[in-house]
């Protein structure tokens, strides 16, 4: 036996002995008090008074100490208060009878009190158990993660059982590593065996186990039963968490399936229309029906060029969309002049003849600080917002791109047009994938442009929304002016 467990043993012994000693002391104290006033008391009153410490001891420390007190009282009564004094001899039959009755009464009281005390304790213990279980199950009901569940069980078990240490270990499941959480109330020597092992079992196999260390007091059968109940509550929670995770995965798959099929139908339509134009233009040029140096020929050639640009734009939108979906859209930030990005996008768009029907005005203050953005991605945002504005606004109207400092660390950008107002419900959903305000056959586009803008702006830490203006309609978005906590600092000579 190690010194440590020797210490534990003597402590346990003392702990068990203490109530008896206390019962003995209480009786002795009572005896002393009664002895002081013995002159004015007759033996029957003394016997009644001696019942008090007996009842008190039983009530406070239970049956055993109660019996101990009864015996001590019996002996003390006999020795000090019945003649002849200071001997255990009894001369009168009457006194002997009184002594016997005293003992019987003391024992009966003791038994009655002791039982009621025991059943009270059992009831309290059951109530505590019930409260613990209720607490456990209500906490577990809100836990969706294995980790939280395991931590809760360990913590609650350590507290409930006053354990030195509780460890809850889960076996590895597909794609995840084994998980183990522990809670400690006391110290446990390393590598010591757990005092109790309870498996976390389901109908389909073992998920893991609960290990509990408690040297003293030893675990009772009731406690073991309670720990098993903990285990089954834990198993239920774990299973529920796993089912809900599986369900969420299934929902995501279903959703992405739906998105993919809408994407395919939208994309194939969008790819075909420029291809149709290109094919028609190229074949008619080759057929010789259109004179080579005519206006018609140059129109056809311009159409081919514009449609290839459309296709190119479409492909970059698709690529960006798939990056956003895969969570792989990481902006390559650099300090940029916003006006440079905007004019890049606008100049590229102006090559299209349809765009030349509109006026595009760029109004960005000269003193706007540099913005920390990925210029390629931001150019895509402006291209998409401006081309969307072009699609929905009347011919020969003006599209305005404006930006201003909305607060110290933010720039607000607005792309506005003179198009008709958009109803509230559309304003909110306009950045959703494939959301259209007009029927698909009336306006071209994949239905991806705006959701890409949203993806890019949000990846930059900004926010995008749409609103109706007094005259027209606007997209607005914000961009932070800080990067790694600071704005661009350039010293100019």
């Amino acid at each position: 036996m190690t010194p440590r467990s020797g210490y534990r043993f003597s402590f346990a012994f003392l702990h068990a002995l203490a109530p008896y000693l206390l019962a003995f002391l209480t009786t002795a104290l009572a005896m002393g008090l009664i002895y002081l006033v013995r002159g004015s008391l007759n033996p029957s009153i003394v016997a009644l008074l001696f019942l008090l410490p007996v009842g008190l001891c039983t009530f406070l420390w239970g049956l055993g100490p109660g019996i101990c007190a009864a015996l001590a009282a019996f002996l003390a009564f006999n020795y000090f208060f019945l003649q002849p004094y200071f001997t255990f001899l009894v001369h009168q039959t009457q006194d002997l009878l009184a002594l016997m009755v005293f003992l019987a009464v003391a024992v009966v009281i003791n038994q009655l009190l002791g039982r009621s005390r025991q059943s009270l304790r059992a009831a309290t213990a059951r109530e505590r158990e019930a409260i613990r279980l209720y607490e456990l199950s209500s906490v577990l009901a809100f836990s969706q993660e294995d980790e939280a569940i395991v931590q809760t069980i360990a913590g609650q078990a350590a507290e409930t059982f006053q354990a030195d240490r509780v460890e809850v270990a889960l076996e590895a499941v597909a794609g995840e590593r084994p998980l183990s959480r522990s809670a400690a109330g006391g110290e446990v020597p390393p590598d010591s065996e757990a005092n109790l092992l309870i498996p976390l079992e389901t109908a389909r196999g073992v998920l893991g186990e609960i290990r509990l260390w408690r040297e003293y007091p030893p675990l009772t059968a009731a406690e073991e039963r309670l720990l098993r109940t903990f285990a089954s509550q834990g198993v239920l929670a774990l299973e529920r968490a796993r089912f809900s995770k599986a369900e969420a995965r299934a929902r995501v798959l279903e959703e992405s399936d739906r998105v993919k099929s809408s994407l395919l139908s939208s994309v194939s339509h969008e790819l075909r229309s420029p291809l149709a134009t290109i094919k028609a233009a190229a074949t008619s040029l080759r057929s010789g029906e259109v004179p080579r140096e005519s206006e018609a020929a140059s129109d056809l050639l311009a159409a081919i060029e514009e449609e290839t640009d459309h296709l190119n734009q479409l492909v970059s939108n698709l690529l960006n969309m798939s990056r956003i979906e895969a969570g792989a859209l990481k902006p390559q930030r650099k300090w940029n002049l916003l006006v440079e990005i905007v004019s890049g996008a606008v100049n590229r768009l102006r090559r299209d003849r349809a765009v030349q029907q509109h006026k595009i005005e760029v109004d960005i203050p000269d003193d706007l600080p540099l913005v920390p953005v990925d210029d390629i991605q931001m150019e895509q945002v402006f291209t998409n917002l401006v081309s969307n504005s072009l699609k929905y606004s009347p011919e020969h109207s003006t599209i305005r791109v404006q930006a201003w400092h909305s607060d110290v660390n933010t720039v607000l950008v607005q792309v506005s047009n003179e198009g008709p107002p958009v109803s509230e419900e559309h304003l909110e959903r306009i950045f959703d994938k494939f959301h259209r305000i007009t029927a698909a056959d009336r306006v071209t586009g994949t239905g991806l442009g705006l959701s890409i803008c949203k993806g890019i702006v949000e990846a930059h830490g900004g926010r995008i929304w749409a609103e109706n203006l007094r005259q027209g309609f606007a997209f607005k978005f914000t961009l932070p002016l800080t990067w790694e906590g600071a704005q661009a600092r350039v010293q100019i000579e």
Binding site: T308, N312, Q332, E340, L370, I376, V490, E493
Partner: protein, 231 residues
């Protein structure tokens, strides 16, 4: 050997090779094609072309690697072709020795302009360098350290002039952010793009008709800047 400039096209797309061969031959260039990196390297060594057009995505070798291996022994101008969204590859190729880049799909005028610039620069690096560069109303005298617009002298700070002079000396050619920053501010500031943005904005205000629609100091998104002059 003919006097026509000789162009080596290294691209794995047969349609691109066919189109470039047809178009460039029509423009009186001599054209050789290769479909793989190793083959291209061998042809470059054997035939000593005047310009190499190199696709960055090749089946056998990384285009950036081809660039680096060519630069081990030749200063022949290299124009890289690449798709949009791979700016990092383009910058890598430019920093590893490529002279210019084109984003697929490209217009043929753009390609021809790049080839002309490349040929002019390689002719200059062999002969005497131009010291006066003219771009519209702007005249930059590299030797005399003066800049004039419509015959009126424009005051530039030392850094502004250093920046403009570097861009103008490479007229028509793209220069990456890090190349410009290293040349003008020093290697320690090679990633301080904010300096470049601010100084470019100042130069545009002093030189361009409309600083928001620059004609001479042109931005190349994600790559760098290019100084354009009249051909």
């Amino acid at each position: 050997m003919s006097s026509e400039p000789h162009i080596l096209v290294i691209d794995d797309e047969p349609q691109i090779r066919r189109a470039l061969r047809t178009i460039l031959s029509a423009k009186r260039f001599r054209v050789t094609v290769a479909s793989q990196g190793e083959e291209g390297l061998a042809l470059a060594a054997a035939q000593q072309p005047d310009v190499i057009i190199l696709d960055l995505s090749l089946p056998d070798l990384d285009g950036v690697e081809v660039c680096a291996r060519l630069r081990e022994w030749t200063q022949v101008p290299i124009i890289v072709l690449s798709v949009r969204d791979s700016e990092r590859d383009k910058v890598d190729a430019l920093d590893r020795g490529a002279d210019d880049y084109l984003t697929k799909p490209f217009g043929i005028e753009e390609l021809l302009a790049r080839i002309r610039v490349a040929l002019r620069h390689s002719a200059q690096s062999q002969g005497s360098k131009r010291t006066v560069i003219q771009a519209g109303p702007i005249v930059i005298d590299l030797a005399g350290h003066t800049v004039a617009r419509d015959a009126e002298e424009i005051k530039l700070t030392a850094t502004e002039f250093k920046l403009l002079a570097y861009l103008a000396a490479n007229v028509g050619r793209v220069l990456t952010h890090s190349a410009i920053l290293t040349h003008v501010w020093g290697a320690a500031d090679a990633d301080r793009v904010e300096y470049l943005r601010v100084y470019i904005r100042q130069l545009r205000k002093k030189l361009e008709d409309d600083p928001e629609q620059p004609k001479y100091l042109v931005n190349e998104p994600g790559i760098g800047y290019r100084f354009l002059a009249d051909e």
